[in-house]
Amino acid sequence: LKVAWANPLGAGSIIRLAAWGGEDMRLELAGPWSRGPVRETAMTERRFRRNFESLASIVAFVNEFFAAHGIRAEQANDVNLIIEELFTNMVKYSRESREDVAVGLEWNAPVITLKLEDFGVEPFDVTQPPPIDAAAKPGGLGLQLVQRMAESLDYRWANRVSTITATKRLDV
């Protein structure tokens, strides 16, 4: 567990940790500086082998996450599509790595956040505008779909790790 404080705690601050444990962890912080408990739902993360056969396991992971959070299953299609496009992009164009790809999901109704991490790779910024004839370029059509379907898309690369974070608002 790593805890990074955006603001230093003042003297006399009280921190209460509650409902802690399991894969789907929830960290609750409460103290005199807040008007009420501040809740942060941690990301549920799993790693997948970098091949197309992993897609079935990723779909199962997403479905499981949706069921656990009471999100209607028919909402999963768009989420699966965004993940598939980003994941297959990593599989196809980051051939130098043999590391598994980490996929994370976080639910903060009505927004779901998706995070994919690719380890030991060169940068490939998926936020760049797709070419005009997107379908003719590597990964073009898939990235065009992601950019149109996701509410936000962020790309970072550091220490040979690509991190893509996307958000999608769902109908709840």
Binding site: F52, E53, L55, A56, V59, E74, N77, N80, L81, E84, E85, T88, A134, A135, L141, G142, Q144, L145, R148, M149
Partner: protein
């Protein structure tokens, strides 16, 4: 689970999820068709860019040869993906 059913000559039904893991098989099974082709998509629950690319390739090949390529019965969710891809006006979707 993804299935390709040959309903009759020139007519195919796709059902389930057409993702990157199934694109190669779809290409192998439909890539040899050289006559007019109608694809029933009413039981297709999901399609990604990999699946769309296979259908686009068939579309280009058949239309170049003067043959019809028609997609029918798409659910709104699947059709939306074609719309996001900007291909709903390129392909013949009924």
């Amino acid at each position: 689970m993804f299935e390709i059913q040959m309903v009759e000559p020139g007519q195919v039904r796709l059902s389930g999820r057409l993702d990157a893991a199934e694109a190669e098989r779809t290409h192998a099974e439909l890539g040899q068709v050289d006559g007019p082709l109608t694809v029933d998509c009413s039981e297709l629950t999901y399609i990604s860019s990999a699946g769309i690319s296979v259908l686009m390739e068939i579309h280009k090949r058949l239309t170049k040869a003067g043959q019809a390529f028609i997609l029918t019965g798409m659910t709104p969710r699947v059709r939306n993906v074609f719309r996001y891809a900007g291909l709903d006006r390129v392909l013949r979707i009924e």
